[in-house]
């Protein structure tokens, strides 16, 4: 079994996700990009787990999926609230944390 293709796929996914997080202005797209990053991690976890013949990888992947679901829930709620307040989900306009 080859590990490389899985890792390359995960890396590609991760990079796309990072690009999305950094470059997109739309809040929902950013959330989706975060999902991509998380799934890249999932692929890595499962791939390494299979490679080493352990279950731990899959267990962690399931755990991550659950957390990701919660995260998306909270994230979408935030985006919704932002939209309500600003009538926009453009993240550049959300700068209340400015120090």
């Amino acid at each position: 079994m080859y590990l490389n293709q899985f890792l390359l796929l995960a890396a590609a996914l991760f990079s796309i996700g990072v690009y999305g997080v950094l470059a997109r202005r739309n809040g929902v797209l950013v959330l989706m990009s975060i999902e991509l990053i998380l799934n890249a991690v999932n692929i890595n976890l499962v791939a390494f787990g299979a490679y080493h013949g352990q279950v731990a990888g899959q267990v962690f992947a399931l755990f991550t999926v659950a957390v990701a679901a919660a995260e998306v829930g909270v994230g979408l709620a935030i985006v919704l609230l932002i939209y309500r307040n600003k009538r926009s989900i453009d993240l550049d306009q959300v700068a209340q944390m400015k120090g």
Partner: protein, 855 residues
């Protein structure tokens, strides 16, 4: 040589060695002065007189006690010591100091109450605080250079009275107990008597002189404390106490010189005095510290001296200590180059000047060197005179000459006297430098009387002349103030060192020391030249003050005007001269003035220097002569001519005049060198300080020198260019007659202008004075300026700039970094994410680098 055996001598004199009551209670004398200070300060103002009687009474009592102490001291048992080589003397001293029949010097600290005054314990057996004399012998050291065998052969037995010392524990640090105690020996007794004597007379004099002064109480309190400081210093057994008295005097001189502190001139002088002497005090602090650790950690002076003699103190330390202590002496005793404060110190009241110059303050430096003499004697190897000179003698010699020359260009009588003090102190210091210890302290003793006399005489003159000290305002005072004149003349003769008078005998001993100790071609000549100079400038003072015609203001208007106009301003003299010149011509104005001037208030206000330069006028002189006859003595308080001062001023003058004659004779060879015997102290004897016998050659040479100066000066002032005595007699005859005398006077005045002012002031003294004012004072000013500048620099640049700047810089830096971070916190989530990524990437790189390296 009869070698006296210690035990034998001790046994013989055991009875008379027992210290008398006053010797054991010597602390009473300084205490009286302290009491005078405290009482005057606390209660003085409650009395109408300002509490002056406290000072006069208590100092009178102190004088009685110190006189009695002197008499008691003369009756003390003594050992006769004969000539011996210094090495052997030192050896004997060391031997006995550690031997069993004589206790180690100054080692016993009496365990009295913790903080009490010394508890006297009767006999030496009981207290152990009294030390039998080490049986060293004294005489001329074999260091005599060159011929003249008579002085080497003239060694004679010196009677030395063993000192008495009592110490109580003052405080202790570590293993070292520091005592507070009193030391009585010939030197101390001598100084106690002198100080009390002068101080009492100064107190008495001041009651009249400062009768209307508004701060009389303060003045008398300061006098009391001043005296207390000196008395404490001369009777102390430890160098710490010496320092205490020394600095108290510094404080009091500050207070007294700045007594009229409303004027900046006076307070500046006070500051200058304190500051200059304090500069010298650095030497004292350093020197005492070195001696403390050198002399096995003790402040005891006798012990320190013993260690210096026996070589316990390393010679390098000894030399360093001696130089440091001498710097202190230079400051305090106004030696070249720190003498500049003393003439300025004339800003204080005249009796205070008398006290400062005669018995306290300035002689403190000489006393200190005399007290620590074994240290100097060993450090500079004075006995062998290895270098051919030493710094003490040289500084003394320089001071004699420069001060003597400066005295010529002064118009202020007090300044002339001040420079003469500097010059005389130079003699004392030179005497100490050439090994003439007895001569130096003898000169200190006699000088105290005649210098106090001269100052008080000047005070008396000024008191009569509307508080002027300008000799150009005086003239002809011998007719108006006969007692002052006579006593002043005696004082002058003593200062000049004319035979019979006090100064002759003491100055002779110093010159003798220079003669016998290898300074025959150098300092001896300097000393003789100094004597000639002294004669010359004193002749000038006497002439300007007592001869000629009175030139000061005589009418109330003129006096008042002069007092107002010249109140401390040198530039006002034209005005003053204008004011009273015409007034003098008018005889009736004077008479009216005499009647109308019974206003005592005006006199009190003035302590001004009236600067009036006046040319002689025939008319005014004849008027002066006419009206002098009916000048009622003492009945005219203001206006008219100066009149003799009242008794509180004249009595001290007369007493001091007597002393100025008597004080010298007590050590005359035909009188058995009484002074030498009474003042001799063990440490000096043990150190092997030479005691050369009277030498007629020296006496004749120095007298001829003095007379030469006198004759020259006489010729200049009294007799025109002509030499001889007939000038004076003719002038005196003409003085009563009138016109021809005045012509003569005019002639002399012109001579004075040409020869003295343009002659001596031109080529010689001006250069010296220029040096004094520009170079020395310039250095002082430059130092002050530099200090100010560097202070400003330190403050502005270093403190406010660099040090504070660094502190502020840290603050600014923190702020800047903060601002940088602030701009980073844009509030944009994606930017934060980018930072996160950047950080993670950097972290990954680091980890990668590490693992890559490892594999």
């Amino acid at each position: 040589m009869l070698p006296p055996i210690a035990s034998e001598a001790g046994a013989a004199a055991a009875q008379s060695f027992e210290a008398g009551w006053l010797t054991r209670h010597v602390w009473l004398i300084p205490l009286l002065a302290v009491v005078s200070f405290v009482l005057t300060l606390l209660f003085g103002k409650r009395f109408k007189s300002g509490g002056t009687f406290f000072g006069v009474g208590l100092m009178g009592l102190a004088l009685v006690l110190s006189t009695a102490l002197g008499i008691e001291w003369m009756g003390r048992g003594h050992v006769a010591l004969e000539e011996h080589s210094p090495a052997a003397a030192a050896a004997t001293y060391r031997g006995t100091a550690s031997g069993d029949e004589a206790r180690p010097v100054g080692e016993v600290i009496e365990e009295a109450e913790r903080t009490g005054l010394p508890k006297p314990t009767g006999s030496e057996e009981a207290g152990g605080e009294e030390h039998a004399l080490p049986s060293g012998r004294l005489g001329v050291p074999m260091a005599e250079s060159g011929g003249g065998g008579e002085e080497a052969a003239g060694g004679h037995a010196i009677e030395v009275r063993p000192y008495y010392e009592a110490e109580a524990r003052w405080f202790a640090i570590g293993a070292v107990e520091v005592g507070f105690g009193f030391h009585v020996d010939g030197f101390a007794v001598l100084m106690l008597f002198t100080v009390c004597f002068i101080s009492f007379l100064v107190h008495l004099f001041s009651t009249e002189y400062l009768r209307d002064d508004r701060r009389k109480t303060h003045y008398f309190a300061s006098l009391g404390l001043f005296t207390a400081g000196m008395l404490l210093m001369v009777s102390s057994s430890t160098s710490l106490q010496l320092l205490l008295g020394w600095e108290i005097m510094g404080l009091c001189s500050f207070l007294l010189i700045g007594h009229w502190w409303e004027e900046d001139k006076n307070s500046n002088a006070a500051l200058k005095a304190f500051f200059t002497t304090r500069t010298g005090d650095v030497g004292l602090l350093v020197g005492l510290s070195i001696l403390f650790f050198g002399a096995s950690q003790t402040f005891n002076i006798a012990k320190t001296n013993a260690d210096a003699i026996t070589g316990q103190i390393p010679s390098a330390w000894l030399l360093a200590a001696a130089i440091a202590l001498f710097i202190a002496c230079v400051g305090k005793s106004a030696q070249f180059p720190l003498h500049t404060w003393l003439p300025d110190a004339m800003a204080g009241p005249t009796p205070a000047s008398a006290l400062i110059h005669a018995a306290t303050m300035v002689v403190a430096g000489v006393y200190m060197v005399g007290r620590f003499y074994p240290v100097f004697f060993s450090a500079f190897n004075i006995a062998n005179n290895a270098l051919g000179f030493n710094v003490i003698a040289v500084i003394g010699g320089i001071t004699i000459i420069i001060a003597g020359l400066l005295a010529f260009v002064q118009q202020d009588i007090k300044k002339v006297l001040a420079y003469s003090t500097v010059s005389q102190l130079g003699y004392m210091v030179m005497g100490l430098g050439v090994g003439a210890w007895t001569g130096a302290i003898f000169h200190l003793f006699t000088h105290a009387f005649f210098k106090a006399l001269l100052f008080m005489g000047a005070g008396s003159i000024s008191h009569a002349c509307w508080h002027s000290f300008d000799m150009r305002d005086f003239g002809g005072l011998r007719k108006h103030m006969p007692k002052t004149f006579l006593t002043f003349m005696i004082g002058t003769a003593a200062l000049m060192g004319l035979p019979i008078f006090a100064g002759f005998w003491s100055k002779d001993e110093i010159l003798l020391g220079a003669w016998t100790n290898g300074y025959r071609g150098t300092l001896f000549i300097v000393g003789c030249a100094g004597a000639a100079l002294t004669c010359a400038y004193m002749t000038r003072v006497v002439y300007l003050t007592f001869w000629g015609d009175y030139k000061g203001p005589t009418t109330p208007d003129a006096i008042e005007h002069a007092q107002h106009a010249a109140h401390g301003h040198d530039d006002a003299h034209d005005e003053a001269a204008d004011a009273h010149a015409p007034a003098l011509v008018d005889a009736t104005a004077y008479q009216e003035g005499a009647k109308a001037s019974a206003d005592p208030g005006v006199q009190a206000a003035a302590h001004a220097t009236v600067q009036s330069e006046r040319g002689p006028h025939d008319n005014e002189a004849s008027h002066t002569a006419d009206h002098h006859g009916d000048d009622p003595h003492g009945t005219v308080p203001l206006g008219g001519y100066p009149h003799e001062s009242p008794w509180p001023i004249t009595v001290p003058l007369i007493v001091l005049a007597v002393m100025s004659v008597v004080a010298g004779i007590i050590n005359a060879p035909f009188f058995g060198l009484q002074f030498t015997h009474f003042s001799a102290i063990e440490a000096i004897v043990a150190a092997g300080v030479p005691e050369p016998a009277f030498n007629m050659t020296v006496a004749v040479i120095s007298t001829l020198g003095a007379l030469g100066g006198l004759a020259l000066a006489y010729a200049w002032w009294f007799a025109g260019v002509r030499f001889g005595l007939e000038g004076l007699s003719r002038r005196n005859k003409l003085a009563g007659a009138g016109l021809r005398l005045l012509e003569n006077k005019y002639y002399l005045d012109a001579l004075y202008e040409r020869i003295i002012v343009r002659g001596i002031k031109g080529p010689v003294a001006t250069v010296v004075y220029w040096f004094n004012q520009n170079v020395l004072d310039g250095i002082v000013h430059a130092t002050a300026w530099t200090a100010r500048r560097s202070a400003a620099f330190t403050y502005d640049v270093l403190d406010q700039g660099v040090v504070d700047g660094t502190v502020n810089g840290v603050g600014t830096g923190a702020g800047g970094i903060g601002r940088g971070f602030k701009s980073m916190a844009s509030g944009k989530v994606q930017q934060y994410a980018a930072y996160l990524l950047g950080g993670a990437a950097a972290g990954a790189l680091v980890i990668f680098a590490i693992t890559f390296n490892r594999s």
